[in-house]
Symmetry: C2
Subunit: 220 residues, 2 copies
């Protein structure tokens, strides 16, 4: 195991943030290679070249550390979504790419999907998409990206964007359904998961478009 010898200078707030970020990075490495069971305050301390108790200066307990892993996952999701849609001019196409990227991110990182279940204690939070500090910047940025895209789709098809948020909620509901089917309800006798994915992406995008059009007509 490579030790990283994270340097600590006490009493400096920026330094404390830096150390915390480094410890989160170390914990994420452990998480990737050994799963959630491998993530302990002691293991992080060892890999950071710290005394076993030092991580407690930055995280109240293991639960808090796991929560930071979750925040990091959301941060990476946001980056992944942004990268996936750069240079796509058409809003309708961008919307489809965004749906695909969103579900792909979780399918490619199932351990991060499950992290939400582990990182949060209570049942009301039993979802990868509900986080306690829902005002965290990355979460808000990802949410905004979905909503902004719905607005842009409305403009591209030439209808009002006043129901764009509701439209993006519809999209989110459907995407959660796909992830649930793919990652959770694996015993349901899905006839063809790969075909279903393509159909799902297209029909979800079309549902959003059609709803925007219908909402525009209803208000018009």
């Amino acid at each position: 195991m490579t030790e990283k010898h994270v340097r600590i200078r006490r009493g400096n707030k920026e330094d404390a943030l830096r150390v915390r970020n480094e410890l989160v990075g170390i914990a994420m490495d452990i998480f990737k290679s050994q799963g959630i069971e491998g993530v302990s305050m002691r293991a992080v301390a060892a890999k950071a070249g710290m005394s076993p108790m030092s991580p407690y200066r930055y995280f109240a307990n293991r639960q808090a550390l796991l929560k930071y892993l979750w925040f990091q996952s959301i941060h990476d999701l946001k980056e992944y979504l942004h990268e996936s849609i750069t240079e796509i001019q058409s809003a309708r196409k961008r919307h489809r790419v965004l749906i695909r990227a969103f579900i792909n991110y979780w399918i490619e990182h199932p351990e991060r999907f499950w992290l939400a279940y582990e990182a949060q204690g209570d049942r009301g939070a039993l979802s990868p998409f509900s986080i306690p500090e829902s005002h965290t910047d990355s979460y808000q940025a990802a949410l905004k990206l979905l909503r902004t895209t719905a607005v842009e789709v409305a403009h591209e098809i030439g209808v009002s964007d006043k129901e764009a948020i509701l439209a993006s909620d519809l999209c989110m509901v459907m995407m959660q359904g796909y992830l649930n089917a793919y990652l959770v309800n694996t015993r349901y006798p899905w006839v063809d998961k790969q075909k279903l994915k393509e159909i799902f992406i297209e029909q979800t995008a079309l549902s959003v478009e059609r709803f925007l059009i219908e909402a525009d007509q209803a208000s018009g």
Copy 2:
């Protein structure tokens, strides 16, 4: 607490099934009034007027008893779905009523939705819709109802029914998304859950219809 004094005659298989069903009924009553924590082999025995160990003749352990509660929930779901669609002539309308009934059943019985999480040990089964004995009659009947309805929708709109199963999988994926949004991911900032429900039902039904039409056109 009312004791039911379930009568036991040993050595008769039909009688054993009858007793087991009565014990499941008693457990379901306890579950409804006291939640899952109240359901114990001892509590069921007490309410049945049996000795504390007697329920173990019918269920290996509490986990097995919970599994039977889950089977009962699926049985009731199936009955509820069938009742909801009797006398509805139009297949397209019946489909919408079925989607509404499916999500309403779980929203009206959230404790049954969570039961699946409790009744099953492992994470791969972390869904109300995946059950270990997926060949149970009620489960198969509910599944068949969804698939048959997709076939009937195809016939009513005058297209091939050869992708009806995939279409009903699409419907199931989307319905799971709504339930996840409504019951699990309660912290997501949904703008208007009631409006979302109506939009969701209509757009899900239309997605199935549109996919059936597109699949028919693609196959020429």
